[in-house]
């Protein structure tokens, strides 16, 4: 692998936003195409961050600054990526469930999903079921992802599942769930499609679900 791409990955893992931006530009100026810089420089760096976070060898601060560095790199690449050159990996509508105002976990999920090349429509917090549906229809989303941090609000996830089942999206989108009080048993009981225990896993799960939908 090119030295500059390795350095991009290394600097991203250290959260060095300005260095990542400068090196990303340098890599392009040296003739490396934008997609290669993304797939072989930036994304591998975030993959390492994701694995370390899952193993608890790094924590939220390290992930936040790495994600910021990633965003600095992708901001450089966005106008350089020619139309159609990037894969359409999929679109996720993401939000913290109705009556829940916690967003740190959701934001981490967004960052990890974007680092995988997914298009994330972040609806914020306190999202009513109909808002997920509207956004998913507007953006042709493959996935609706609901986050809940409270046992008092996780019950609203069932309302989202029901709303999807009763909408034109029935059978066309997958519903992902996550958050501290959520587990697989709860996911199964409300009829959601996928439970992810952490942000890096959510990003991998979302890619997989999008691939499955595209293949169907």
């Amino acid at each position: 692998m090119s030295e500059v791409l390795e350095e991009i990955s290394a600097k991203l893992q250290k959260g060095k936003m300005k260095d990542v931006a400068a090196l990303t530009q340098q890599a392009f100026d040296e003739g490396i195409d934008a997609l290669t810089i993304l797939n072989e420089g930036l994304m591998p760096g975030m993959d390492v961050i994701g694995e370390r976070f899952k193993k608890n060898t790094i924590f939220i601060p390290e992930v936040l600054i790495a994600a910021r560095a990633m965003a600095a790199g992708t901001d450089i690449l966005r106008p350089l990526l020619s139309a159609g050159s990037g894969e359409q990996k999929g679109t996720v509508v993401l939000g913290t469930i109705k009556d829940d105002l916690h967003d740190i976990g959701k934001n981490l999920v967004r960052m990890m999903m974007e680092s995988k090349g997914l298009n994330v429509i972040d609806l914020g917090v306190n999202v009513k079921p109909e808002k997920y549906i509207e956004a998913a229809i507007e953006h042709n989303a493959e996935i609706i992802a609901c986050s809940a941090l409270l046992t008092t609000t996780m019950v609203h996830i069932k309302d989202v599942v029901t709303a999807v089942q009763e909408s034109p999206l029935a059978g066309k989108v997958k519903i992902m769930v996550g958050g501290a009080p959520i587990n697989q048993a709860f996911c199964d009981s409300v009829g959601a499609d996928c439970y992810s225990p952490d942000a890096p896993t959510a990003a991998v799960d979302a890619l997989r679900l999008c691939s499955e939908l595209h293949a169907a």
Binding site: L64, P181, N183
Partner: protein
């Protein structure tokens, strides 16, 4: 020492394991009891890591069971489902049928199914004709003497320590970003409320501290006088006969059903 005083006064057979957030309220209530139980506190904040709460609680229960305790009352709510992983091997557990500490501090059942963010939109479940049940507004940032002492004030006071730590580890620019992210966590709330009990702490001091916390996000602060009756009933005679509490036998556990109700799950085993 007289013969009378040489005989130890009997204490209730049950023990209490409590979140430290309740230390002041429980201390007051126990002081009012002719026979107060032993209360064992676990650190405040374990609800943020439900798996760790489960682990710490199971260890504490095992230790008490090993000492021959047969009834243990857990002064907790479901607390992020940290309590749903709790399993006794011998003892009978008594647990309040609540989601978290706020209902116990307020002293009323809280209809969390009727919670709605203060945007004027009523949830379809919002009406309750039972005056003993109140609706909890999801946009409120709650405080109490225990929350202030063990969580919110230390968080504020350690701010510069964290900034310095982030700067040393990640550099000034990243440190500034991380501090901005930290400050953002309160931004979605619309107001703050301090729950205080008569006789627990000095109200004006607590209000000052709560105001310091609320100011971080420009939240208007209200105060709410909590009623000790819920926790008093928890410490009293036969709470298992009160529908506000769950009696959990070996093999059972408290959890949340898909419809949001808090239920005893599992089958009671013969011990």
């Amino acid at each position: 020492m007289s013969a009378k005083s040489a005989v130890s006064a009997p204490s209730p057979a049950f023990h209490v394991i409590a979140c430290e957030v309740f230390r002041f309220e429980l201390t007051m209530l126990c002081a009012q009891m002719p026979l107060a139980p032993q209360v064992h506190f676990l650190p405040q904040g374990l609800h943020d890591t439900p798996d760790l709460l489960t682990k710490e609680m199971n260890s504490a229960i095992a230790a008490l069971e090993g000492a021959g305790v047969t009834e243990i009352r857990l002064c907790y709510g479901l607390c992020g489902r940290g309590i749903s992983g709790v399993r006794a091997k011998k003892a009978r557990l008594i647990v309040p049928r609540v989601h978290d500490c706020i209902a116990l501090l307020m002293g009323q059942n809280v209809n969390d199914g009727a919670s709605n963010i203060a945007d004027g939109t009523a949830d379809e479940h919002s009406a309750s004709s039972d005056e003993s049940v109140i609706s909890r507004d999801g946009s409120v940032f709650w405080s109490s003497i225990g929350w202030l002492k063990y969580s919110q004030v230390p968080f504020l006071e350690q701010k510069e320590v964290r900034r310095k730590d982030y700067t040393e580890r990640f550099g000034e620019d990243s440190a500034a970003y991380l501090m901005e992210m930290e400050d953002a966590w309160l931004k979605e709330y619309k107001s703050a409320t301090l729950i205080h009990w008569q006789g627990v702490g000095a109200l004006d001091t607590l209000l000052q501290e709560a105001e310091r916390v609320a100011e971080q996000a420009n939240l208007p602060l209200k105060s709410y006088e909590g009623n000790p009756q819920f926790l008093r009933a928890f410490l009293g005679e036969a709470p298992e006969n009160d529908s506000r509490f769950c009696q959990i036998f070996v093999g059972q556990y408290l959890d949340i059903a898909a419809d949001g109700s808090l239920c005893i799950m599992g089958e009671a085993a013969c011990v």
